[in-house]
Symmetry: C2
Subunit: 466 residues, 2 copies
Amino acid sequence: MKLFRRLSSALPALVLLSGGAALADDTAADLAAKASASHWGYDFLADLTTDIGPRISGSKAAQDAAAWAADRLKKAGFDEVHLEKFPVTYWARGAEEADIVQPRLQHLAVAALGHSVPTPSGGIEAEVVVFKSFQALRDAPDGSLKGRIAVITQRMVRAQNGEGYGIAVGSRVAGPSEAAKKGAVALVIRSVGTDHHRLPHTGLTLYAKDAPKIPAAAISNPDADLLERMAAKGPVKLRLKLENKSTDSQAVTVVGEIKGREHPEQVVLISGHLDSWELGTGAIDDGAGVAIAAGAAKAIIDQGLHPKRTIRVVMFGAEEIGGGPVDAYEAAHAKEAGNIVIAGESDFGAGRIYNAAVPAGSLGSPFAKQLTAAILPLGVDMLHEGSSHGGADIEGIHEKDGVPLVDFGQDGTHYFDIHHTADDTLDKVDPAELAQNIAVWASFAWLAADSDVDFRALSAPAGSAK
Amino acid sequence: MKLFRRLSSALPALVLLSGGAALADDTAADLAAKASASHWGYDFLADLTTDIGPRISGSKAAQDAAAWAADRLKKAGFDEVHLEKFPVTYWARGAEEADIVQPRLQHLAVAALGHSVPTPSGGIEAEVVVFKSFQALRDAPDGSLKGRIAVITQRMVRAQNGEGYGIAVGSRVAGPSEAAKKGAVALVIRSVGTDHHRLPHTGLTLYAKDAPKIPAAAISNPDADLLERMAAKGPVKLRLKLENKSTDSQAVTVVGEIKGREHPEQVVLISGHLDSWELGTGAIDDGAGVAIAAGAAKAIIDQGLHPKRTIRVVMFGAEEIGGGPVDAYEAAHAKEAGNIVIAGESDFGAGRIYNAAVPAGSLGSPFAKQLTAAILPLGVDMLHEGSSHGGADIEGIHEKDGVPLVDFGQDGTHYFDIHHTADDTLDKVDPAELAQNIAVWASFAWLAADSDVDFRALSAPAGSAK
């Protein structure tokens, strides 16, 4: 789970469903019931985290994970399974240490940010300048951080839909170059997370072209508190040592399809990403997502259903480390982008789904009425219209190729306690909540793939359609 | 916080208080109100964790902490402050690593147990045998663990009064020698803790004299889950490397007194322990306890109260690493043990106090009635009789010298999520709950010290008293 772009935009219409608003299609109801009761998705996730574990893009583990997942899909009865490889920078975490060395030695729990350059081999030792927000750092005079380690201690707000992330994550993504422009020799940020554990949150940083690349790392929330308290008392000196390195490698995306019986060229794409940060075992981010997408398709296979359109399950191979997956997928599928009827990605853990956003103009379609009826018994009691965010891996095909998106709102109240930390392990996933997700996605995939609705035409601006 | 000995014993009498059972003494009520409103205790704790931090017994940090605390007590207006030094083994944690190396590399979050011997410098690599309880390991045939790493994955139960600890902690304290007797080359245990974070719980282990000393460490709960799942599938090989070392050093206990105006030789002893494990900063274990004991006395000083008896605040210097503090204190105070009227230790974090246990026979005394009235407005609505547990540091003077104990029951529902981990940091302490503890202890200390009640006589067996 990476960035919330325009999360608060484009929610123009709300429909609160009453019990009798629509009648469920028996096939969809049966499918949802069976999907809810199946253990296949949870077993997939348990085995992925146990037998493979951490799998950062470009690593051997990520390549093993792709082979493992493809094998699992083949055994599940998908009509076609293949791998798609593309170049990626393999960023390998090394030893990492952060210590307060003045006024008194205290060890900090630290994690380098993804793509951070390493420190010089002896580490960096410098006095810190603490900023309580990223904006405060932006407002600092040019040159004012010369020779210093900049520290941003901005806090992330907890919210059900996770929107605090979009507000806080700027310090991680853009902070290092901003600090470098003002002369800083390194940047340390408070973790972009809502917990209070000594487990730092890693995540991607992006260097600007016009600034020196300085080492960047996150410390845990309690450590950021400590630094703030110390800095309020007097000068604080920090020692930072990061030994990560970057090499050229390959990422692997896994694709499995249930071929459409009438329009095999028309594709309903459901997805997650198989790669994960390497501190944890990638259970909520995003083992859950690939288990949900694959589990949904598996439920359709198990019911013996043969939809009109093709259902394509994609397990993207490089969401976390960025810069490649969307482009790679777009490049490989440019010719058929127009055939992707609708796309969705599950990349927000396994928290309960409570609402759904469908493409603009489609709320009145038979598809949406059937979906509404199918997922209400699963506890999804609100349908939005106008989805424009659907996960980092599919935003590109939406923006560039106009692929319509579906987006299911999940309870992410506790997601950012765990996200990108060593704590991202299987025990954080509730099997019942995972099953609810699988049932909702199975309902969606079946109904969208067995429908004739043309989401592009419905969502086209008035006047241009029909 | 170490062991719950006989936790469930000796709670013969319960008194549920009705609102009008007793009238509060105005002095005690004023004291409790002022203590509740004071920031002194929280500031003490914040500064201890910020300015000193981790302070394992025998370390320079622990010695610095003692000097710091003594200075703080002097400035607070105690009549007399001194340090008491005694020999201790300084156990210093070194680099530590645990990896599953077969069937696949996965890193585990590990912490050596206190007093564990190190591994040979290259580490130990061996196949594991997993036991789901300590009893299952005890039941294993002699020699059956030859050349293996024994793993105990017994889970700890969560309870308000923390009694799950006493049930689970045997694997940590006695497990290494039991495993060694059966031929194991190392012992790895599931953390004795109730959380699900990748933060292992350290703690003391005690080697038996009749078994080889083998390295011993705890892994986090999610890692224990992973090992269980892997071991259910096939052989698992573990590599363990611990580089800790032990040296002779000195521990320091801090003592501060408010001298009694009528019976200065009679002592009401309230305490906590100043030493802490070094993974965290010792906020709940037991910075809170020393802040509570010192804060209670400070509130009495601030009110200008001069009790008949002496109030002695003791910050014990070697609770965690064991084997010295009680004996050292007993040896130093053997001559005056008979003058310790009553003793208590706060060593269970800063969770809200909900009940109190006073010495047998004292429930009907004017002291108990006054205490009841004073602490009811603080939310302590139940008084037990027959306290026999009062914290690891004072059990010795109770057992050997017959010193009567007071014991306040605290809400420890979440205490063992944090206990002995890197997560033991200031943010885990609620200032309002800490203040409630301080107000209760201040009420107790004042009323016990200004009373003439003789707890020893009251609790003596019928026929021997009066």
